[in-house]
Amino acid sequence: MPSNPSPVMNQVSLTINGQSVVAAAGTSLLNAAKAAGIDLPHLCYDPRVEAIGSCRLCGVKVEGMRGIVSGCAQTVAAGMKVITEDAELARQRKHTLELLLSDHCSTCMGCDKSGACRLQDYAYRYGADQNRFGVVLAKPPARNFTTLNKGILFAADKCIRCGLCVKYCETVQMAEALTFSKRGSQMVVTTPLDENLHETSCEACGGCIRVCPVGAMLDKAAVGKGRESDLTRVKTICPYCGVGCQMDLLVDKQRNRIVRATSSPDAPINGGNLCVKGHFGFDYVNSPERLTHPLIRTADGFRQATWEEAIGFVGRRLREIRDQHGPDALAFVSSARCPNEENYLVQKLARTAGATNNVDNCATSCHAPTVAGLAAAFGSGAMTNSVGEIKDCAVMFLIGANPTEAHPIIGLEMKRALRRGAKLIVCDPRKTWLAQRAHIHIQHRPGSDNMLLNAILRCILDEGLADQEFIANRCEGFKEFERNLQGIAVEAAAEYCGVEAELIRAAARLYALGKPSAIYYTLGITEHSCGTDNVKNVANLAMLTGQIGKWASGVNPLRGQNNVQGACDMGAMANKLPGYQDWSDPVVRAKFEKAWGVSLPQNKGSKVPLFITAAGRGELKALYIVGEDLVATEPNQTKVIEDLSKLELLVCQEIFMSETAKLAHVIFPSACWAEKDGTFSASERRMQLIRKAVEPPGEAKADWEILCLVSTAMGYPMQYQNPSQIFDEMVSLAPIFGGMSHQRIGDRGLQWPCPTPEHPGTPFLHNGKFTRGKGKFHAITFHPQKEEPCAEYPLILSTGRTLYNYNCGNMTRKAAVINQRDPGNFVEIHPDTAARYGIRRDEKIVVRTRRGKVTGRAVVGDRVRPDIIWMPFHFAEEPTNNITNDVFDPVTATAEYKCCAAQLEKL
């Protein structure tokens, strides 16, 4: 395996307090000191934010430099001699602290920050007298911009005006919701015009809370619920999207409650940043709606059952159905929400006790085209680069991706790249946040992605921008690919896409010549009936220009669910065994048969949408679902309910009574993410540990425990001490994870491939050689979407996610902060369209398609083109997926969520 070189930094040596220190050029004195174990006091510095230099505590002496030098702003230079502590500096710091305390309500006894407050620590360290300038009396709390906020509390009398929250909001989150008003000692943190924070551009990322060095920005719901020392810190991974942010849960063990969430700047992927869902979205864990006991269906609902009874019943019925109707009568749906260990067990259960390859996960409804398309082109279907490389991109090419909302922390890295001067191309029918700031925004019409991509490829060939050497040495299939493009005319393609040809040409040039360029895409191109083709064409683009297999250069699908990458890694799909091993390969089969002590099933297996239709036809008899809400998330909801109702046995492992669970015969109550151990695979192929923070409610059990019980009851005994043991078994069978263990993964995670215990993991793929050997070009013919607009349905409906809510919303919608920002369904409509229909802003309207209708609030604005309307799908009471189109990609059975024909009506 070739090594993965990242750009090297120049190193310089200097001395700090007589100690010699080596640091990368550009490192601040403060950080160089920190690395050498010297803690330079600092209040206004946080690694997430560019140095501010306002607190003036970090001053040091540097030989040959005049006066006191700020350690947070001054960078290292070779041969520097630095003194960080002496009597004079200590005196100055004491004085500065006393000045801060002279305007600070130092009621540490009642302060939530006490014990984790740097101001308190330094005041102690330097012996600062808080009353030197007189006693500061607590001011009666005055109304401020957070008074009505559900998540954030600003305590003005604790604010030391370090500026971190304002700077974070302005330059990192780039939400520009916070500012200072007034000057001098009157200066105060507020919002523009003192508006209520939740009515500003605030994105509720919680960043202001995480960076505040004192108790001035607080999690409102956590106030009075425990100081740092009263709580236990549990490092785990966010349960929402596939970015894989590491977070720290602060847990009250006695009350068995998560009190608040935060993240530390040394978190591997997110560097201490989180989005609204990560920071505030854990209320659901404590929800009274959690399932606490096994439930068995009765004539008019459900009754509580014992575990023994429920497991016994399910084990017996599954066995009977398997034996009576054969392997294709049984199917298992694994969960992209659950850890790797549990996904491994679901597919093992299916293939051993179930004797069927009918196992799948939700990747089918989102990124299966990625797995299929990229595997065909490169040999493996995952992000080829890491999140940490984004900042080094010279050109970012986004297609069908809205990272600032759907993958907010990747969005944050893109914002950072923009600040560092990267160029941005966005191909998206909507004017997303990034599209508005893009150097080139191609607002093509939904469904025309491949036409657009072919046109870009054509331009690159026409203008001689192809990387001939890369094509010759690293790829195959070029001739046929080139021939296929002969029929493409850029002008005609541009016309079909509804954009200007010159824009396409400019994008082609910018991308091809970027040093380096990287592609990022998500469901905007996969959730189509031609999803796999779209992905293959994106791969073509990277290979044609040699923009892959390098630092900050490659093809990067941003995965949807927290562990959708892992569900695929673990082989929770019909045609792959764990570690992307082909189920039909005899050597592989022999290995698994030996390890598992069974002969592997011979049936080809199928996919989620086909399970549902098979159920409708009565061919599928039993469906076992772990943590997925098919009713809420599959297209054409009415039909899904009808089909699933025909099953002889529907079993759900769930944390809530979901729409699907309501149809089940047996429901097992599961422990949620915060209640168990395991690993998640982040989008960048990094496996990271999740850790148990609280006990599950009632009798709920971890999914892996339930799976073991069911398997045993079916006659295939499964027994593990803990998830780590399951992981070890998995690793022993899957060479690309061969060198991993829970212990090695630790707090930093490990990126696969990682074949041996010595291997450091792999930040970017295909360096020097593609996984499959040669990269394969595919000739892609354009296929239009299945439903074109017509007289009756003249608009194109596209769907997607908002920043605040997550998928079917059953986790996020229980969070007060999120509900305050994103309370219900809406429809984005262009002003011209709205005018044509006489629709006014905020009016409730009806969207109708061939499959039915839903309602939503009209959001009138030019985020969408006039021929398009856009809706989120988070709201069970107004379910957008009732009306999306249940036509599918022929390769992967991914549904065309992203476009169908629709009509608007006044309510």
Partner: protein, 453 residues
């Protein structure tokens, strides 16, 4: 020795009967001829002349103008900007406004020569918000100059072009600090930027290399381009070349603005001969020589030391009246020439009250970023004001000193120095008053007055 004659170069036409601020009048008086001459020169040659001239900035710090230009990062490939600092808000300073009101084209010509010399395509005049009339005059002047092809694209038939825009401040002293000014110009709060890394010459306006110069400085550039650096350097004294405008305010018979060769006139000559001495029956008590933030001088104190004259070191033994009004001499005696605002106080002034007034100004004007400045300026104000109101504590003079001593050198911008120097110097020179006066006040405190907090 009686005072030398004024040497009016910058102020030649100020208050001249019949001289108006329109282009026609300026051109009648030879206006824009030097620009014409300059655009025929090599830009580097002009920069060299400015370096040779020894011109030092007239905005406050007295930094070498040629040196400042030579620090520009010219290799970055980014555009270079010029910002004209017309924020003139240092208390006691009133010179730039006369140039703007009465002779705006002189400034514009200086700007255009500077821009040509440094290959600047865009210049901004950042004018103090309280000068709306000045801003209108400049707008009109720029329009005239543009119409006459002195400003704008392809000036005077050359390939070179440059635009000048006016930006009005919104009323904060800190907008005069060059990096605060840049932030303000970018549309943000004028929080001064931290240096390193934000030196304007490298990462200035919109993160591009930027020159910030004072109005008066740029007018000098015009005359340097005219007479040559060599000739200019002969005006004034070595190291303190050219003329400068001294704005005298306070307790003298004839306050006003006067232009002299730098260092050719002493404080005594200025106050007694030029400004007519103290008011009847009064005596000079103190003078602040370079804007309110310069350290105060006390009549009667003496300054001794050695200084360089030509190649030799000579002893000096000066009273306040003997100090030559130049950057180096004022620096030597522990204060500064600053912005040229000379504030005179006679024996009617109570020093505690005077300082309380200055401190109130600085506490109000601190941008609020740095702890020592924000909190320090506040406490200096609070302490002097309680001294004035008779609610001071015995240890307050010592506390006041310790607060002032902890500010300079420890802040993001030079406001820290600016706000602490008055307190430091008032206490050092009039310490007795700071002990006696609060006691007298306390004794006279009306019953029921508020206790200090």
């Amino acid at each position: 020795m009686s005072a030398p004659e004024q040497c009016r170069i910058i102020f030649r036409h100020i208050d001249e009967p019949g001289y108006s601020n329109d282009l026609a009048c300026y051109v009648r008086h030879g206006g824009y001829e030097i620009l014409k001459k300059s655009v025929a020169m090599k830009p580097e040659a002009i920069v060299d002349e400015v370096k040779k001239s020894g011109l030092r900035g007239r905005g406050g710090a007295g930094f070498g103008c040629g040196l400042k230009w030579s620090l520009l990062d010219r290799k970055s490939g980014k555009p270079v900007y010029l910002i004209v600092n017309a924020d003139e808000s240092e208390p006691g300073t009133f010179k730039d406004r006369y140039i703007i009101h009465q002779d705006p084209h002189q400034l514009l010509e200086g700007i255009m020569i500077t821009c040509f010399a440094n290959n600047v395509k865009l210049a901004y005049i950042y004018i103090r918000g309280e000068f709306p009339h000045g801003a209108r005059i400049l707008e009109k002047a720029i329009a005239e100059a543009r119409a006459a092809n002195f400003v704008g694209p392809n000036i005077l038939g050359t390939a070179y072009g440059c635009e000048i825009y006016i930006h009005r401040g919104a009323g904060a002293y800190i907008c005069g600090e060059e990096t605060g000014l840049i932030e303000s110009l970018e549309g943000k709060r004028p929080n001064p930027r931290i240096k390193p890394p934000y030196f304007p010459a490298v990462l200035g306006l919109y993160q591009c290399p930027t020159i910030v110069n004072n109005v008066e400085t740029l007018c000098h550039v015009k005359h340097i381009a005219d007479m040559g650096g060599e000739a200019f350097s002969k005006i004034g004294t070595p190291g303190n070349t050219g003329t400068r405008i001294l704005c005298v305010s306070g307790h003298v018979q004839h306050p006003g603005y006067y232009e002299f060769e730098v260092g050719k006139i002493t404080m005594g000559q200025l106050l007694n001969d030029v400004c007519g001495g103290p008011l009847p029956g009064r005596k000079f008590k103190a003078v602040i020589p370079g804007g309110s933030s310069a350290k105060i001088l006390k009549f009667g104190e003496r300054f001794k030391g050695k200084r360089k004259v030509g190649a030799e070191m000579v002893d000096y033994d000066w009273g306040v009246e003997d100090v030559p009004m130049d950057f180096d001499s004022l620096g030597m005696i522990g204060t500064m020439g600053g912005s040229g605002g000379v504030i005179v106080m006679d024996d009617s002034v109570n020093m505690v009250e005077a300082l309380a007034n200055i401190n109130a100004f600085y506490a109000h004007e601190s941008c609020g970023q740095c702890t020592p400045c924000r909190e320090g300026s506040l406490w200096m104000k609070k302490i002097t004001s309680r001294m004035v109101h008779g609610t001071a504590r015995t240890e307050d003079a010592a506390l006041l000193k310790s607060v002032a001593d902890q500010i300079p050198g420890r802040t993001i911008c030079a406001f820290g120095e600016a706000c602490s120097w008055p307190t430091q110097s008032f206490l050092a020179k009039f310490g007795d008053e700071f002990k006696q006066y609060p006691e007298t006040k306390k004794a006279a405190k009306p019953a029921g007055a508020l206790e200090l907090v």
